[in-house]
Each structure stands twice: as structure tokens, then as C-alpha cells.
């Protein structure tokens, strides 16, 4: 009675469509298990085998993975927020208020974005603390420590640029403090702040620039570095072992 579906399944698996998608058999042998990982574009960044000690949660507290998870949450919720938010000085604040009060699920998406943003700063920081205290920055992982440091800076800059977008008093004055800090840089400070913020004080230019940086330039750079970061973990022999 099951012969017909079994025959159909066999045909599907031997057909050109199946073979164009999958290059290995069911992962029940060591070879196919390995192939399942490194023929998959999403899994190939991950080591084929993980050491037993690395699975103990207190070793890492999953802080790197949580940072990446929050990055994905921020990408998804941020993309949805972009459908309603318009980065101009007369519309931005009202759009955020509409998201909070009018748009269906707008409030939870906006708050998820905000809290995940704060959370990512925390988890990335704790991840760096863990890497430092386990000595995981030592050779051969010193290059990945540098990549991680750049990712930490990008996380802070993403947080800072996003801070301005609600265009309320808190955002305006907090970023004004940043403007004054940029101006304090020796020799190039005034020029740098003028070019980056697009004016002598925060205005329409600064809001639009921060928006473009926040939704395009910085996430792209971050995603690029995350890919290198993960690939490099694998190339450096997986997660670091006990000292």
C-alpha cells in the first residue's frame, strides 16, 4: 500500500530538481553529516564539529550568539519600522508617535527594536569580557579580536545613530552632546562635525544622514564583518579550549 508514495519519493530524490538543491544523502553517516554542514551556505560558517567543553553554557553564556540573534531581531523589526517612519524634521516625531499609538503591532515592534538595541550593546560588551577573561584573544585568534573590536564600535555607532531618529528632546540633546564631542577633536574637529552632521547644528541634514547610516551603511558593514568574524572562528579551530 505504501509502495506508490515510496516510489514517488524515490523519483523525486533522484530527479534533477532535488539533485540541484542537495548534494549529499541523509545525514546519518559521518561523511553526510559533514557534507550537510559545509554544503549549506548558512551552516558552512559554523565548524563541522564542536568540542564538548564548548557546549557548557557557563563558558560563553552564549553572548556571541545572543548578540547575533539580537542583530537579526533588529534587522527584522527595523525593516518593518521603515514602512512607517519618515526621516524629516516635521514628520519623524509624529511617525514614531503613530507607531506607538495607531499602527497595529507598531508599539511592540518599536519597543522590541529599542530594547534589542540596548540589549545588543550589553551582550556585545559581555561577549568581549568573556573573550578577554578566557584568553580567547591570543594567537591564533588575535585577528578575530580586532574584527570583534570593530564590531563593538559599529554596535555603538548604530546605537548612537538610531538614538537621534525619534527626533524628541532626549534624542536631540543627546546627539548634540555628541556633536560637541566631535568638535572637540584636535585640528579637524569643527570640519569633521560639519561634514558628518551636515550643518553647524543638528537639523534636517543630520536627521537624514543618521537615518541613511543607521538603515543602510552601518548594517551592511556590520553584516560583512559578522560573516568574517564567524568564518574566522572556524578557521582558527572553533571556539577556544580551556587554558
Amino acid at each position: 500500500m505504501l509502495e506508490l508514495p515510496a516510489e514517488m519519493w524515490r523519483r523525486v530524490k533522484s530527479g534533477p530538481l532535488w539533485k540541484s538543491l542537495f548534494r549529499h544523502g541523509y545525514p546519518d553517516s559521518r561523511k553526510n553529516q559533514s557534507l550537510a554542514v559545509f554544503t549549506n551556505v548558512f551552516l558552512h560558517l559554523h565548524p563541522v564539529k564542536v568540542r564538548r567543553h564548548a557546549l557548557a553554557i557557563p563558558y560563553t553564556w552564549c553572548m556571541g550568539g545572543l548578540s547575533f540573534f539580537l542583530f537579526l531581531v533588529l534587522t527584522l523589526t527595523g525593516t518593518l519600522l521603515m514602512f512607517y517612519y519618515r526621516p524629516t524634521t516635521d514628520l519623524a516625531y509624529a511617525d514614531i508617535k503613530d507607531l506607538e499609538t495607531v499602527v497595529v503591532f507598531g508599539q511592540i515592534l518599536r519597543n522590541m527594536h529599542r530594547w534589542a538595541g540596548h540589549g545588543m550593546v550589553i551582550t556585545v560588551f559581555l561577549h568581549m569580557v568573556r573573550v578577554f577573561y578566557t584568553g580567547s584573544y591570543k594567537p591564533p585568534r588575535e585577528f578575530n579580536w580586532v574584527v570583534g573590536t570593530l564590531l563593538f564600535v559599529l554596535t555603538l555607532v548604530l546605537s548612537y545613530t538610531g538614538y537621534l531618529l525619534p527626533w524628541d528632546q532626549l534624542a536631540f540633546w543627546a546627539v548634540t552632546v555628541g556633536y560637541n564631542i566631535a568638535q572637540a577633536a584636535p585640528f579637524v574637529g569643527n570640519e569633521f562635525a560639519f561634514v558628518l552632521f551636515g550643518g553647524f547644528q543638528l537639523g534636517a541634514n543630520a536627521l537624514l544622514r543618521f537615518y541613511v547610516l543607521h538603515v543602510v551603511a552601518l548594517p551592511l558593514a556590520t553584516g560583512f564583518l559578522i560573516a568574517i568574524h564567524f568564518w574566522r572562528i572556524r578557521k582558527d579551530g572553533g571556539i577556544s579550549g580551556p587554558l
Binding site: 548634540t176 560637541n180 569643527n190 560639519f194 561634514v195 558628518l196 551636515g198 550643518g199 553647524f200 547644528q201 537639523g203 534636517a204 541634514n205 544622514r209
Partner: protein, 182 residues
Amino acid sequence: MIRPHDDVTTSSSGILGRIKRRQLLRLGFLGGTLLALGEMSALIYPFMKPNKIVGLGAKVPVGSTASLMAQFQSTQDVPILNTLGRFFLLHPEGGIIAAYRKCTHLGCTVPYVAAENRFHCPCHGSLYNKKTAVVEGGPAPKPLQLFHIAEQNGTLIVDTNPLNVIDRQKNEWDPSVLEIKA
């Protein structure tokens, strides 16, 4: 694999004699990449630097000396606010000055409070004189900075560039800062 002979050189002297083909290609590729990056930076930097300034930083026309003086006379020297240019026009003895509305303490926007007859910063309570913008109290270390004013065809033009101000260090009225006398 076919490799070019190492000993074949087209000319024996000069730089061409010493650089091999692959080195030349490598240098060319590297140089081309660096050139492209340099060109992109040379494009992006001036592109990001705004030419058109709205509000603070622009040159703001504020009318003639006579009309401003008439306004000061009718209101008993209440400061004239220009919100977009972020300054107040004030009337000290003998002329007109333009005070940048940024508190010299920590940079808050300073309002004129009519009930107190002076400027009162809402952040930390710095007080400034109504006519001269020198400090009357609070944590501000020096008077409000002044913008330069020029007269063009009978109209006063306030240059609101905050990087080019009259920065008074002493907390007393000094008539030598007057650019428009009336």
C-alpha cells in the same frame, strides 16, 4: 605549465628592465584599485559637505537700523528673537548687537523671560542681561557670544556662523564690540 623565461628582458637598462611582467600587472592592478578608492573619497567628502546652509550658519537679513531702533523704542528694548538663525537682536547703549542663543555654560537654548526682564536659561539657571547679554548670575562663565553684523544697502545682515563669533571673555559690557552704531 608554461612560465615566461626569467632571463628574457626586453631592455637591459632603466626601470622597465628590472620589472617583470607579473610585477607590472600586480602593480598596475594595485595602483588602479588605490586610484579608484582615492577618487571615491575625493568624490564623497565634498559631496557630503553641504553648500546650502539653512538656519544657523547662514547670513540672515534683519531689516534696517532705523526700523529695528523704532521697534526697540516701542517695546522698551525687548530682545528681538530670530528662531531660525538662533540669535537675539539686542539694544545696548549706542547700537545693535546679535547674541548667539547658546548658553555659554553647557549649550542650552536660552530664552528671554519677560517677567524677569532678562535671559534665564532653563537648564541650570544662568542669567544674562537683557541689553548686553553679560552674565547676571548662575553658572555661565562668560557672556553670550555675538554674531558679526554688516550693513548692506541699508539692510543689516547677521552672519550666524558659530565658528566666527565675537567671544567676550570678560563679564562686563564693552562698547568696542559694537559693529552697528545707532
